[in-house]
């Protein structure tokens, strides 16, 4: 069993009076890609925000063995990357500039971007195949291109742990496949990736899976395990069936 990169313990969150998470405990292993899946309203995005330390909660989150509040803001931002759902950005900013914002945790207060910053931005833009429109403004890009720029923004921080909420939104199948390739390269290099995904078939490509329903974690296991597939079918009221097609697990609607 590999060490945990990030873990949540007894997390409860209420927004207003509505409880969203009920004592959630979950661990995410180092250097692996874990997808969090579950029906709408399961609390997946909320859990991801808690892991990122951007939503107050009761319970505790540990990052690389240290409680999250004990990390300095800057070190935490260098170690823990985040890509939000439907992330916004100023429409008139250039793609390159937006990706450079991902380097903020590495930059000192008034210093201009260093050569290392520029190199990281170029790597991120090339990895997401968005280098060619680096000088275009976000407002002129298509939904998919825009999503790739925002992914590059998250990659540019070169964090050890990367949390992504619905990163495949607006991506067409070829670019979803590209995203898959990027995540596999990241995991191979030792980056821990945690993603919330609605596309169950894409989620089944991950190493590990956390299944949530009604603000609780109902199952944690390997994506290739039959028990995981059964749990997945159960959480969706057997309206999906997990099948193997051409050596790949896919979820078929029932």
């Amino acid at each position: 069993m590999q060490a945990l990169a990030i873990s949540a313990s007894a997390i409860s969150v209420s927004i207003g009076k509505a409880p969203i998470l009920h004592g959630v405990t979950a661990g995410f292993r180092k250097g692996r890609w874990t997808s969090i899946v579950g029906p709408n309203g399961a609390g997946k995005s909320t859990l991801l925000k808690v892991l990122a330390g951007i939503l107050p909660c009761t319970g505790s989150v540990n990052l690389l063995g240290e409680p999250l509040p004990e990390w300095s803001r800057r070190e935490r931002a260098q170690t823990l990357g985040w890509l939000g759902q439907n992330e916004i950005a100023a429409e008139d900013l250039g793609a390159y500039d937006i990706v450079m914002l991902g380097r903020i945790p590495h930059q000192s207060w008034l210093a201009p971007p260093s050569a290392a910053d520029h190199a990281a931005v170029e790597r991120a833009l090339r990895a997401t195949q968005s280098w060619k429109y680096r000088s275009r403004s976000l407002g002129t890009l298509s939904g998919g291109e825009r999503q790739r720029v925002l992914l590059a923004r998250a990659l540019a921080s070169e964090a050890q742990v990367l949390l992504m909420d619905e990163p495949l939104a607006n991506l067409d199948p070829p670019h979803q496949a590209d995203w898959l390739a990027i995540v596999r390269v990241l995991a191979a290099k030792g980056t821990t990736v945690v993603s919330v995904l609605h596309e169950i078939s894409m989620a089944l490509n991950a190493d590990d899976m956390v299944i949530m329903a009604g603000g609780r974690v109902t199952y944690e296991g390997l994506c290739v395990d039959a028990a995981t597939h059964r749990a997945l079918e159960a959480v969706f009221d057997h309206r999906v069936a997990v099948r193997s097609v051409a050596d790949q697990w896919i979820a078929l609607p029932q």
Partner: protein
């Protein structure tokens, strides 16, 4: 190393240079244009062949009246442009503007209150001639100007905080705008009420409420020219954080930006810039709203450059408006605030008409 943004940076630098040149030209024109139209007083001043009485007269007019007024108009515009760029970045809202956020009306109410409490009744314009007494809104005294600036600063902070409390945050454009309107109306009514109870200062305050550069002397001008670099440097030092904020609060927090102290600092700078301008020139609408939009329509910039260019644009806008206000119905003079309200209102309508995209596109 590839620096792909250099063309945009070059355009920004070219725009900055252009705005600086235009500013110098406008200030020179401002010195030469008075109630009798264009008269080249600079020539009188610099020409050794002129008689000493002509030169003394020119010096009097230029040095005591037109130069502080012209430079003051530029500085007030620059402060408002800076405040607008900050407000739009801080609230991630293209309609944010010191005027629409309640900070300008808060500052005006605070100035009216300060005058009423400190014996503003004594400070008035008697019979149209500007015989200013100790605590008038038109007073050239340094201490009075400093006190009024301080009051305006506090009023501006209260105005913004009231608007934010009413709007329950900054995310909802329409709510923010409505809250700003409500706060503006209520604080404006408060100002009127204060004036009703101190009728002696009414006339002077009226010019002030309409927005006027006509009574900016050296004390007021220096106050603004001191506040401008302070606010500019502070805002510029936070510009990267403002860039980060443009990605939304969750992402900005994940980038390690300390959101609470950051917002407090930005609101403080916003209030100082607005207060410093409003305390000297009264309520001048739309300069803060228009300046950042104008900059963005010409060049793509991050907040560091936007703050600088919006300041310069604000200065150019208000200097031009000040010239027009003096020129249009000379020898009479229009309150410059009326002019900016008409021109700025038109610009805002055009902006809204040109497509919801510009107005709503940058909204969360």
């Amino acid at each position: 190393m590839v620096m792909p943004m250099s063309p945009a940076s070059r355009r920004a630098a070219a725009l900055a240079l252009l705005l600086l040149v235009v500013s110098v030209v406008l200030i020179a024109l401002g010195v030469c244009i008075g109630s009798t139209g264009f008269e080249n007083l600079l020539n009188d001043l610099l020409n050794a062949a002129k008689g000493s009485s002509e030169r003394a007269m020119a010096e009097q007019i230029v040095w005591n009246i037109r130069l502080p007024r012209t430079m003051g108009a530029w500085a007030a515009g620059a402060l408002l442009g800076l405040a607008g760029a900050l407000a739009q970045g801080l609230f991630r809202n293209p309609l944010a503007d010191p005027y629409l956020l309640g900070s300008a009306t808060g500052a005006a109410l605070a100035v009216a209150l300060a005058l009423a409490l400190l014996g503003g009744a004594a400070g008035m314009v008697s019979g149209g001639s500007a015989t200013t007494i100790a605590t008038s809104v038109l007073s050239p005294s340094w201490w009075v100007r400093l006190g009024l600036t301080g009051a305006a600063f506090c009023g501006a902070i209260v105005g913004v905080l009231l608007t934010l409390a009413l709007a329950r945050g900054v995310q909802h454009t329409l709510r923010l705008l409505l809250a700003g309107v409500v706060v503006g109306v209520v604080l404006g009514a408060g100002t009127s009420l204060v004036l009703v109870f101190s009728p002696d200062s009414m006339q002077a305050m009226q010019a002030f409420l309409l927005g006027s550069t006509g009574f900016v002397g050296w004390a007021a001008c220096t106050m603004m020219l001191t506040a401008l670099p302070l606010c500019g440097a502070a805002a510029w030092s936070l510009s990267r954080a403002l860039d980060g904020l443009s990605l939304g609060e969750a992402t900005a927090a994940s980038l390690g930006l300390p959101l609470v102290p950051l917002r407090a600092a930005l609101i403080g700078i916003l209030a100082l810039a607005t207060g410093a301008a409003v305390a000297q020139t009264g309520l001048i609408a739309f300069v803060g709203l228009a300046a950042p939009h104008l900059v963005r329509s010409v060049v793509r910039v991050m907040h560091g450059n936007l703050i600088l260019l919006s300041s310069l644009t604000g200065g150019v806008l208000l200097s031009s408006a000040d010239l027009l206000a003096r020129w249009l119905i000379a020898p009479q003079e229009l309150p410059v605030g009326v002019l900016t309200a008409v021109l700025g209102g038109g610009y805002l309508l055009w902006l809204m008409h040109r497509g919801g995209s510009t107005i709503s596109g940058r909204v969360v």
